[in-house]
């Protein structure tokens, strides 16, 4: 167990004992290497199961929605951004949330891990500096952690949480870099036909399981438009057009709200490049309105406000 896990447990037990939290939401190990599962600690014994590591991927801000109890939440930089964004949208009562901020240098993408394993069964993963030693029944392979980090972590600008009530000490790199959206610009440079072909093909493997939507801390509508029967915006079958509209609208609904935590992408069992849509929206909101969700607690969500001189070169 690492120092950060120990510190999280200590903090969790203190918050529970002091009555500052009824539940501490964090992670505990699952039986799979590099995969931690969200954990809801209400007793000291349960708090002792809390861990921190490369497999702590879920965005725990999701679990703050619709919660009556006083909560303490173990939060990475992106989780904190999501909390800030949802607090602004009045979905989470900040007074009832204690943020245990954890500086984070990135988490592992299990889709990337799956690709590296190529069908081999992983039974153990041990961190050795910047490297992970992956072991299975008949193999051992060393992989640079940076090659397994999920893409969202590579462009992360908030290794250090922007807000927190308790900070877990760590040697994670402070701050972050500026996201240049290089991948998005590259895609924009393709022809419309090429983009359409990519879009159709990439999303044709969607199984409409809605894991992307359900993992996203910004998706909290009481009734999602895909579930509406009157009006029925899109069919309930699996017409590719309907799948594409679902993903367009999901991305659009994230405008000015998406914190690019990558929760959607790592939830996708089919490995769809979902961030290629959400990041486009994120980039445009930044370019058009100079806004980035969840970074500044005091600025309103970008699409909830306007300026008289907003760009309108897109109009006829």
């Amino acid at each position: 167990m690492n120092d950060r896990s120990e510190e999280i447990r200590r903090v969790a037990k203190r918050l529970l004992a002091e009555g500052k939290a009824d539940v501490v939401i964090g992670f505990r190990d699952s039986r799979l290497p590099l995969r931690a599962t969200p954990h809801f600690a209400r007793t000291p014994a349960e708090a002792d199961q809390l861990v921190w590591g490369l497999g702590c991927t879920s965005n725990l801000a999701k679990y703050l929605l619709d919660r009556e109890e006083c909560v303490a939440v173990v939060a990475k930089g992106c989780d904190v951004r999501a909390i800030v964004a949802t607090v602004k949208e009045n979905q989470v009562n900040r007074d009832r949330v204690t943020i245990i901020g954890v500086p984070c240098a990135g988490v592992v993408s299990w889709q990337k891990l799956e690709a590296v394993l190529n069908g081999r069964d992983l039974t153990e993963a041990i961190q050795d500096g910047d490297t992970l030693v992956l072991r299975g029944r008949e193999f051992e392979q060393r992989v640079a952690i940076s090659d397994l980090l999920q893409d969202a972590c590579r462009t992360c600008t908030v290794h250090e949480p922007v807000v927190c009530d308790v900070r877990i000490a760590s040697s994670a790199p402070a701050g972050g870099r500026t996201d240049e959206f290089a991948d998005i610009r590259e895609f924009e440079a393709l022809s419309p036909d090429e983009r359409w072909e990519w879009f159709r093909r990439e999303f044709s493997r969607c199984i409409r399981c809605y894991a992307c939507r359900n993992a996203c801390p910004a998706c909290y509508c009481e009734q999602c438009f895909v579930d509406s029967t009157n009006p029925e915006w899109i069919g309930k079958g699996n017409d590719l057009t309907d799948t594409l509209i679902f993903h367009i609208v999901r991305a659009f609904h994230s405008a000015g709200r998406c914190v690019d935590c990558g929760a959607c992408e790592r939830a996708c069992p089919m490995g769809i490049d979902l961030r290629r849509l959400t990041r486009k929206v994120q980039k445009d909101v930044k370019e058009l309105f100079g806004a980035d969700a969840g970074v500044d607690p005091d600025s309103p969500p970008a699409l909830a406000v306007f300026r008289p001189d907003d760009p309108e070169d897109f109009t006829w």
Binding site: S30, R31, L32, R35, A36, T37, P38, H39, F40, G55, S58, K62, Y63, N118, G119, R120, D121, L122, T123, R137, E138, R201, E202, S204, R205, I207, R208, C209, Y210, A211, R213, N214, A215, D227, T229, G235, K236, G237, N238, D239, R266, A267, P269, M270, G271
Partner: protein, 355 residues
């Protein structure tokens, strides 16, 4: 006819090519980055690997979406219905894992061995030959042996292939299977059985943790209102990954879609698509009332259906231990742990009653 045959590794592609001449042949392959069953074309090498397809073979029988019929109004307003043609060509699915094949026998209870069989499912089942491959290297998420299966299980298959020293032996399990291997070099029955038994023993011994399913149904019988359900669903985000990638989950929705080019819905189709009790919409009524209003009731339903109701109706659980739900859950919920927690809760409960 012979029941056992030998297939040398190098000879497998030519057998596959021969089958391709006679059948539509499907095999596990990477399709757009996802390992699933796809059409095998002549000349491709489909050597089985250590993996399990991400999407189970279920999709070959209950596709994610399918048209059940098209309708249109004819002249004088008559309702004309057209159902899809039954598959003309026999299909051969190669490389099916025993857990997936066994799952089909469970689906048969629902769709086939009933007084109102599903014609679409049945047509596909009846026109398909299943060639399975035993799992010499079970993965760490596998628990087929805990739910009545085996890495070398034979249920549902027409032929079982077993890898041995780089080559394969084939065991025909049905008449269809015998016909399939009729032209291959014969293998000695007793030796082959010994070899398969040895491979099976070896694989079963290397399985991961057993999941205690004995008595699980009884614990669920008395545990509908157990406090455990308030907690167990907490990490679950209510998506459909576990159900959609489960080889035995089979709930579906029917939708009637009017052709947008038709006038006033005079033409359209009835579509069936995967659905799941994990979605809130599944049971929500038009009035807004939902008999299973939260994640708690929905997760309980899925587990109860698998390990209690299905057992009551058909004598076996609706789980084959393939581990897909474990490997693919976005929040790493583990059905093995869930079952263990049901056990713990039942035990704590019985202790409480004693004292």
């Amino acid at each position: 006819m012979r029941k056992y045959a030998r297939i040398e590794r190098d000879a497998l592609p030519s057998h596959l090519d021969a089958w391709i001449e006679r059948y539509g042949v499907f095999a596990p392959m990477m399709r757009d980055g996802v390992r699933r069953f796809g059409v095998l074309s002549a000349g491709s090498d489909a050597q089985p690997g250590p993996w399990l397809t991400k999407v189970p073979v279920k999709e070959m029988f209950l596709p994610q979406t399918e048209c059940l019929y098209r309708y249109r109004r004819g002249t004088n307003g008559g309702l004309e219905i057209e159902t899809p043609q039954d598959p003309a060509r026999l299909r051969l699915i190669f490389g099916v894992r025993p857990c997936d094949a066994r799952a089909l026998t469970l689906l048969d209870h629902v769709f086939r061995s009933t007084d109102r069989p599903d014609p679409y499912y049945c047509a596909r089942r009846e026109s398909t030959i299943l060639v399975g491959i035993g799992c010499s290297e079970p993965r760490s998420v596998c628990f087929c042996t805990s739910v009545g299966g085996s890495p070398f299980g034979e249920e549902g298959l027409d032929v079982l292939l077993v890898e041995t020293g780089g080559d394969y032996v084939a065991k025909a399990l049905t008449l269809k299977g015998e016909a399939l291997i009729a032209e291959m070099p014969e293998a000695a029955p007793e030796d082959t059985e010994t070899l398969i038994a040895e491979a099976r023993r070896h694989a079963e011994a290397s399985m991961g943790d057993a999941v205690l399913t004995a008595g699980l149904k009884e614990r669920l019988d008395s545990g509908f209102d157990a406090p455990l359900w308030d907690r167990i669903h907490e990490p679950c985000i209510g998506c459909g990954v576990c159900a959609f990638l489960c080889p035995t989950c089979h709930c579906f929705d029917l939708a009637h879609e009017a052709d947008t080019r038709s006038v006033a819905g005079d033409a359209g189709r009835c579509v069936r698509g995967w659905d799941t009790c994990m979605f809130s919409l599944f049971t929500r009524q038009a009035s807004g009332v939902n008999p299973r209003p939260s994640g708690k009731e929905r997760m309980r339903q899925r587990l109860m259906h698998k390990f209690r109701y299905f057992v009551e109706n058909y004598g076996e659980a609706a789980c084959v231990g393939c581990g897909r739900c474990i490997a693919n859950c976005p929040t790493a919920c583990d059905i093995r742990e869930t079952i263990a927690r049901i056990d713990d809760a039942a035990e704590a409960d019985s202790h409480a009653q004693e004292t």
